[in-house]
């Protein structure tokens, strides 16, 4: 088996198709592990990992922490609130202080795009990007593609539409890059104001009509409206957004084929997706969460394999 071609996981942009395939085949094995009576392997017992969350998170943080513990790594957690960050410490200083406690790997979420790359250029530990602002969220894209592969057998040739706040979404960018590397066709759909200009340069189709997009696709990935990143109003009201771009049972049942419904969470029920759709059998939202642990175990395992012993 070959190693990953990268030392850090900053974004999907840096990965090759072979890297993604390697992560998936490793995750297949870890998925078996986490469905056993003893859900733990001893591989990383001499590795210490710091989870640095400068931005709120539930799923990703828990998922990373669980993945690390299932690999037997030692884990330390840090959240920006209640830390010395509010006393004016810089990112590099904060991280170097943590690293002097002999940490081998850093999992970081940060509100600034490029923060993971910035850090990886300046510290000795491996960096896994758990979301950097509106830039990338690579493990989410990997687990989304892994879930599609599990549900439909393959990603190649499938049509995936990403609906919602594409402008502010790191999930959207990582998903587009990941799905394209695996040979899927990608469309983005949302109000004109929430679709970045020139996004077609990435080779994606653009639609402003939800029904048209859903008729085209095999998989619909519904994104949340990221109100916390929106400094101005991008559409008149949530009610209007929900009427035009919300996925409900009525529109889902009227389609000519059964599509797979995904959502990276957190869900705003009644806005981008209604409860009956989120809980329907076409929805794979909870499988995505389960696969998240397996994917993160695979990423951490493969990066840790490249850490030299002292």
């Amino acid at each position: 088996m070959d190693n990953l071609s990268v030392e850090h996981l900053i974004g999907i942009r840096d990965l090759t198709k072979a890297d993604i395939d390697l992560i998936f085949s490793t995750a297949d094995n870890f998925k078996q592990v986490i469905n056993r009576p003893i859900k733990k392997v001893p591989s990383l017992r001499d590795i210490t990992i710091a989870n640095l969350f400068f931005e709120n998170s539930t799923r990703t943080k828990l998922s990373f922490e669980l993945a690390e513990k299932r690999l037997s790594a030692d884990v330390i957690n840090f959240s920006a609130s209640g830390s010395s960050v509010s006393k004016g410490e810089t990112l590099v200083d904060t991280v170097n202080n943590i690293l002097s406690m002999k940490v081998d790997m850093v999992v970081m979420r940060h509100p600034n795009p490029g923060a993971a790359k910035f850090l990886s250029d300046r510290i000795g530990a491996r960096v896994v990007n758990a979301g950097d602002g509106t830039h990338e969220h690579p493990t989410q894209a990997l687990l989304d593609a892994f879930t599609i592969r599990e549900k439909l057998g393959t990603v190649e040739g499938k049509k995936v539409v990403i609906v919602g706040d594409i402008l502010h979404s790191r999930v959207a960018l990582s998903n587009i890059l990941c799905l394209q590397k695996l040979g899927a066709e990608v469309m983005v759909c949302g109000p004109t104001t929430l679709i970045p200009k020139h996004i077609d340069k990435l080779g994606v189709k653009v639609s402003h009509n939800l029904r048209h997009a859903l008729e085209w696709c095999d998989v619909a990935n519904m994104l949340r409206i990221q109100l916390e990143r929106q400094d101005i109003k991008y559409f008149p009201s949530l009610r209007e957004y929900s009427m035009l771009f919300g996925l409900n049972k009525e529109i889902l049942d009227s389609l000519s084929k059964e599509i797979v419904v995904m959502h990276p969470g957190p869900i705003n029920r009644g806005v981008e997706i209604t409860s009956d759709v989120a809980d329907s059998k076409q929805s794979v939202i909870l499988q995505q969460v389960e696969n998240g642990v397996a994917i993160r175990m695979a990423v951490i395992y493969l990066l840790a394999a490249k850490i030299e012993r002292q």
């Binding site: 088996m1 085949s25 094995n29 001893p42 493969l302 394999a305």
Partner: protein, 183 residues
């Protein structure tokens, strides 16, 4: 030096037959015994034993495959990580008698990992070890096999290869002279 054939296909078949009868001596009708092959090469020994045992006993024998990659003690000590294979244990091992099966017993490290990996599935009653080839005096750990196809005295620089009709085209066991040598 030339490569040396330790077992030819005739001796190979006799050995498999003998191992089957030794297993039957201890485990009778296999009502509470399961066979577990270690990935990747142990499963070929397992397949051969299983089909032979089923002919002799006229009943199906419960078998599984166990992958030990994540339990190895040489993680981060190798140039490249090892490719994981699938584990396939679709039954409870609780209170079962288990026979772990591998092709070559050398340093004993694989078996040590195999025991750890196995115990993640439950608490068996008893675990035994069957190996096609035992390279004796080469152990790094205090581990011995209960059933041995053939014992071989070898140098570290030598390598023992168990070849299979299904894969390499002929059943045989070879002693290979290599520069680096391995298990």
């Amino acid at each position: 030096m030339e490569n040396q054939v330790i077992l030819n296909s005739k001796q190979f078949e006799l050995t498999i037959n003998r191992l089957c009868h030794q297993l039957i001596e201890t485990h009778g009708d296999f009502s509470s015994t399961v066979l577990i092959g270690l990935q990747p090469r142990g499963i070929h020994v397992l397949k051969r034993l299983k089909s032979r045992l089923e002919i002799i006993l006229g009943k199906e024998i419960t078998c599984g495959n166990l992958d030990i990659t994540f339990y190895r003690d040489d993680f981060r000590r190798r140039e490249k990580p090892i490719i994981p294979s699938t584990t396939n244990i679709n039954f409870s091992i609780e209170n079962k008698n288990i026979v772990l099966i591998d092709d070559v017993l050398f340093t004993g490290r694989t078996i040590r990992s195999g025991l750890d990996a196995l115990l993640a599935y439950g608490r068996p009653n008893r675990v035994e070890l069957l190996t096609m080839i035992d390279r004796r005096f080469r152990r790094h750990l205090p581990i011995q096999a209960d059933y041995v196809g053939k014992t071989v005295d070898s140098m570290i620089s030598e390598r023992v290869a168990v070849e299979w009709k299904e894969i390499e085209g002929e059943d045989k066991v070879l002693l290979l002279y290599t520069v680096e040598g391995n298990g």
